[in-house]
């Protein structure tokens, strides 16, 4: 065990800082997702929204019930919208990859399916954008900041984070 024990914090303070970190990471992908051209941004934003929800829901009792319910609903709507978009991205990517190994004449049914999925994805992007714009309009980030402020936690976003080859911040692990 470590002899240099840091000053212990209570679980709520720890949770508030962990939540702020996760929300910051989630919001770092906001613009990329809004632009609708970066499947990796969709994936990452969804992963970090899910991670944020795990902390928020686990430590719900650290916050006022009304605030928790309202903000949890906002986080859920982001996770849900991104999940459907991500599912379509994954399916499209796979179909496009798999069809290449088939003789051209056998690809028509899959190509038609891809066209339908692309159309569906375009519609889904409108829903995703609407969800993100609502997040902004309702000042959800500011509401979270207000909620976390008593614990000394702040949400820091790096919207123009440098991307490495795999689409993540440099030297950051690849979450899933």
């Amino acid at each position: 065990m470590d002899n240099q024990t840091p000053r212990p914090q209570d679980a709520c303070t720890f949770a508030a800082h962990a939540l702020a970190h996760r929300l910051g990471r989630m919001l770092s992908y906001f613009d990329g997702v809004l632009r609708g051209k970066d499947p990796e941004a969709v994936h990452q934003m969804r992963v970090w929204s899910r991670r944020a929800r795990v902390v928020f829901e686990l430590f719900a009792d650290c916050f006022e019930e009304k605030d928790f319910k309202e903000l949890d609903k906002e986080l859920r709507s982001i996770t849900r919208a991104l999940r459907e978009a991500r599912d379509l991205d994954v399916m499209l990517e796979r179909l496009q990859r798999e069809q290449e190994s088939l003789p051209p004449a056998q690809r028509t049914g899959i190509q038609q399916l891809c066209e339908q999925l692309v159309q569906k994805r375009t519609q889904k992007q409108q829903e995703v954008a609407a969800t993100l714009k609502r997040f902004e309009a309702r000042r959800v980030k500011e509401q979270f900041e207000k909620l976390l402020a008593p614990y000394g936690a702040t949400i820091q976003t790096k919207t123009d984070r440098k991307r490495s080859k795999n689409g993540h911040g440099k030297n950051e692990p690849t979450p899933r």
Binding site: D10, F14, L113
Partner: protein
Amino acid sequence: MAKTSQPLAKQRPLSVPQAAVAAIRRHLAEVTQHASAIHRPEAVHELHDLRIAIKHLRYTLELFLEAPEMESALYSAEKTGLEALLTDLRHLQELLGNIHDADVLMPTLLKQLGRLVRKGYGKDADGASIIGVHHVDLEGCEGLVALCRRIKEQRAQHYAELCQFWERPERQKLFSELAALLARLEADLAHVPER
């Protein structure tokens, strides 16, 4: 479906290790509850629930390993064990994710196959019976069937790998060690005076 995390009991001020024990214990129980699905390849919903439970356990372990309080509460061998467990959880999640992707893709492909086949029988827009051999793109159907078959084979491979990985003694040991660690932490915490 696997439930999302329920809030921890209202015991304030709860220390970080106390919260960790309660949360990890709960998520470990969820994994154990859904683990029987591993021996049923056709249990698509239950396997998906297991994947969610594993993801919750993983995120929760990662969360608490960030806390400086856990650094001082854990022996280095325990920390190493938890890191190895996280690697295993990531792999399990990936295998279950591949299985789920196949389970979701298959009906989408079959629906498309149905659309193509549907052009070859029944009534046309004017209510006349559809007859003839030229209405269905049989090669397009063949492509879809070939892909369905491939997806099924890949799913079977991922499932076999999952079973093999799950049965590994090393994997089982890491889960047992986590349960023992939780018991050890709980016992230690019971002797710590309230702050």
